[in-house]
């Protein structure tokens, strides 16, 4: 029934539920539908229009949980629902009025039936005028789903790599270290650039593309009159890094080119690593677009920057009065996260705090992601127009990830600027982050499903097959203050961590990385990470590379 992530375990019905289904099929569910009350925030309950307050038929009580018999519609409280099954044979299955959950009175347990959940969800969908297909409305800026998917980029680079694989013993000294590991000289406060370059140099699909000759200087020069091409310059850096030479490299040409590109931007002097990262991807993309005369359609863009880093975010804005949800999709090349402060201890899917002890005040990456995908009530001063109600209403917004990229860049917003005091400050708060990251709970399918109480229902159709498991391979850290600080990159190659501090490369243990203050974290899909670790042992220096390298 559901495709892609995540998969449900379809729970086996208890004997009583099975018998009920056999005898009554879906009729009980269908007649219950009229009584279902759906709330704009996604929850469902059972309301009985006839009586004001439902009362237990045995004790006339109205307190505590009440259960509505699916067969005869009588209401019983928890103490007396067993009585009901004894007096009426076969009346075993009831519905919890508060939550519209199935309850087996004999087993004394909550039970589940996909058909019931479907009936509940249908009510939600029917309740929203104009939606007949069961699909949530999609805003005008829907980006066409990429038919090729990222699989194409992967295939392209893998086949080229395997053709070039030659077992070649590296006779140079220091050959036991991973290829591509090379210090970068600081050219004068350029550690922001060096730390991001190191991450790009070792992002598996990005690296594979350039090393396998994905960007050809000749064709590039022929295709466009404009000599400026950031990809060509990156290619030069790749050649230098993977040349086998271990003396630190000065990315001067790259800096020059980047400044020429960013001269077009208002803030060419950005010394922020994240801004630099965005600007480089933009530069690569722009050149690609210009040379191929494409539309600026980032969702389907085939340039290497988007092919590797681009994902799709989903934004749902729900009217709190009628429940109508407006959905838009926007591509992104990274996700910027606010730090979750001690006000919001990390929650799992059941909204329960994990470990309410020493760790509860620590910020975690998962906590930040929870915060990012939490439904946020917009203030009454920012009411939005609801198409259904035809007026401005209080709304709630919720973000989720529709499609994950191959390489996921997570940026932590450590900079706080107050428009009131005009003061800026850096947030030094420690952030715990995992080395293995499962993004499943943040996918649109999980988030939307959770909004409706985790019903068994096909919420997202046709989600791509990209796995949600990621492994970290680079972490950019910042130490110091806003005004004077220093960026360092930690790289994870073949399960060994290296500290890349401008020209200095050192081996460090995992603990040091975990304890550091991260600013940007680069995760790659687990399968690509594993592949990169295997292949690397005999990846060679192709003689052709040295033509471009230094």
């Amino acid at each position: 029934m559901t495709t892609g992530n995540p998969s449900y375990t379809n729970p086996k019905p208890c004997k009583h539920l099975a018998d009920y289904k056999l005898n009554h099929g879906l009729s009980g569910y269908k007649s219950l539908q009229k009584h279902l009350k759906t709330a704009p925030h996604g929850k469902t309950s059972v309301g009985k229009p006839s009586t004001k307050t439902p009362r237990c038929i045995s004790c006339d009580g109205f307190q505590g949980r009440l259960y509505f018999c699916l067969i005869c519609s009588s209401v019983s409280c928890l103490d007396h629902n067993l009585l009901h099954t004894q007096s009426e044979v076969g009346h075993d299955v009831a519905v919890d009025i508060e939550r519209a959950e199935l309850y087996c009175c004999v087993c004394c347990d909550q039970v589940y039936d996909p058909d019931f959940d479907k009936a509940v969800m249908s009510k939600h969908i029917m309740g929203i005028t104009g939606d007949k297909n069961g699909d949530e409305s999609i805003g005008k800026r829907l980006v066409k789903r990429r038919r090729l998917g990222s699989g194409v980029v992967e295939e392209l680079v893998d086949s080229k790599i395997s053709k070039q694989l030659i077992s070649m013993r590296d006779r140079r000294a220091k050959s036991c270290y991973p290829l591509g590991l090379r210090g970068l000289n600081n050219l004068g406060n350029t550690c922001f650039m060096n730390s991001v370059l190191q991450a790009l140099l070792h992002a598996p699909p990005f690296r594979n593309y350039f090393l396998s000759g994905g960007h050809n200087h000749e064709t590039c020069r022929k295709r466009s009159v404009d000599q400026l091409c950031l990809s060509c310059d990156i290619d030069v850096v790749f050649s230098a890094a993977f040349s086998g030479d271990r003396a630190p490299y000065s990315p001067a040409q790259f800096l020059y080119s980047w400044w020429q590109h960013s001269a077009n931007l208002a803030s060419y002097e950005q010394k922020d690593a994240h801004e630099f990262f965005i600007s480089v991807l933009d530069g690569i993309h722009e050149k690609e677009v210009k040379s191929r005369n494409q539309n600026r359609d980032n969702g389907d863009c085939q340039c290497i920057a988007h092919g590797v880093f681009s994902g799709l975010l989903r934004s749902d804005v729900t009217c709190m009065t009628c429940g109508f949800t407006s959905t838009t999709f926007d591509p992104c090349v990274d996700i910027s996260l606010d730090l979750d402060t001690s006000n919001f201890p990390p929650k799992n899917t059941a909204n329960k705090s994990i470990k309410p002890d020493a760790n509860s005040s620590m910020s975690t990456l998962l906590g930040c992601l929870d915060l990012f995908t939490r439904q946020e009530k917009l203030g009454s001063d920012s009411k939005l127009y609801c198409q259904n109600c035809q007026e401005r209403q209080d709304s709630a917004k919720q973000m989720s990830i529709k499609r994950l990229p191959l390489v996921l860049c997570l940026h932590i917003k450590r900079f706080e600027h107050s428009p009131v005091t005009k003061m800026s400050r850096k947030i030094d708060r420690y952030l715990q982050f995992p080395l293995s990251l499962d993004m499943t709970p943040y996918l649109s399918s999980s988030v939307v499903r959770n909004r409706f109480g985790n019903r068994i229902f096909a919420f997202e159709s046709g989600e791509s097959d990209i796995s949600a498991e990621f492994e970290i391979f680079a972490a950019v850290t910042h130490a110091g203050t806003l005004e004077s600080g220093h960026y360092v990159n930690f790289l994870r190659l073949r399960n060994q961590w290296y500290k890349c501090d401008d020209a200095w490369i050192n081996e460090v243990d995992e603990g040091m990385v975990r304890a550091s203050q991260c600013y940007m974290m680069f995760y790659v899909q687990k399968s690509l990470y594993q592949k990169a670790n295997e292949d690397w042992s005999h990846l060679p220096i192709s003689p052709r590379r040295n033509m471009f390298g230094q």
Partner: protein
């Protein structure tokens, strides 16, 4: 206890019971449908991070942190300011690597004078990359603060001005 206090106590108890059952019902569903996150792995990661922080904070373990200016893994040493020399691709002069960026800024006319002419706005940067920008795409409705960036140059002003005060006017 007076009857009012008793009553409110009872209401509170009822509300609490209702909330507890809500949470139990939610968790029950999540567990039965196999939707719970792998809590063990998550807790293991938390534990490892906590351990690491303790170790790093211990002053007797400061060895690695100070090794920067000594020797790298390839057995090389480097001066604090990179001393490789090459030609500036803008003006052709020979420049030392560690001073290349400040030289290039002046050389390309990006010094303070040039900077003042250009209008600076962080939103312009974001809007330019509007299709992919993390800020503009999902904050049309949010109240969150704008761009979050960290400078690593010296700054003479607060706010969004990132003036680099490290080099002199010619």
């Amino acid at each position: 206890m007076g009857s009012h206090a008793q009553l409110s106590s009872q209401f509170f108890g009822d509300l609490l019971d209702s909330i507890i059952v809500d949470v139990a019902s939610e968790c029950h569903r999540i567990a039965r449908l196999g939707l719970d996150r792998n809590l063990e792995e998550e807790e293991e990661e938390l534990r490892l991070s906590a351990q690491a922080r303790v170790r790093v904070a211990d002053p007797s373990n400061s060895g690695e942190a100070n090794s920067k200016y000594v020797v790298d893994i390839f057995g090389q040493t480097h001066p604090p300011v990179a001393n490789e020399i090459f030609d500036c691709m803008n003006c052709g002069r020979s420049i030392m690597a560690g001073r290349f960026a400040p030289h290039l800024e002046k050389c390309m006319g990006k010094g303070r004078k040039a900077r003042l002419k250009v209008t600076r706005s962080s939103t312009a940067v974001q809007n330019r990359y509007s299709q992919g920008s993390p800020v503009s795409t999902y904050s049309p409705y949010s109240n969150s603060t704008s761009t979050s960036r960290l400078s690593n140059g010296t700054s003479s002003g607060a706010g969004e001005e990132y003036s680099n005060g490290t080099f002199q006017e010619p």
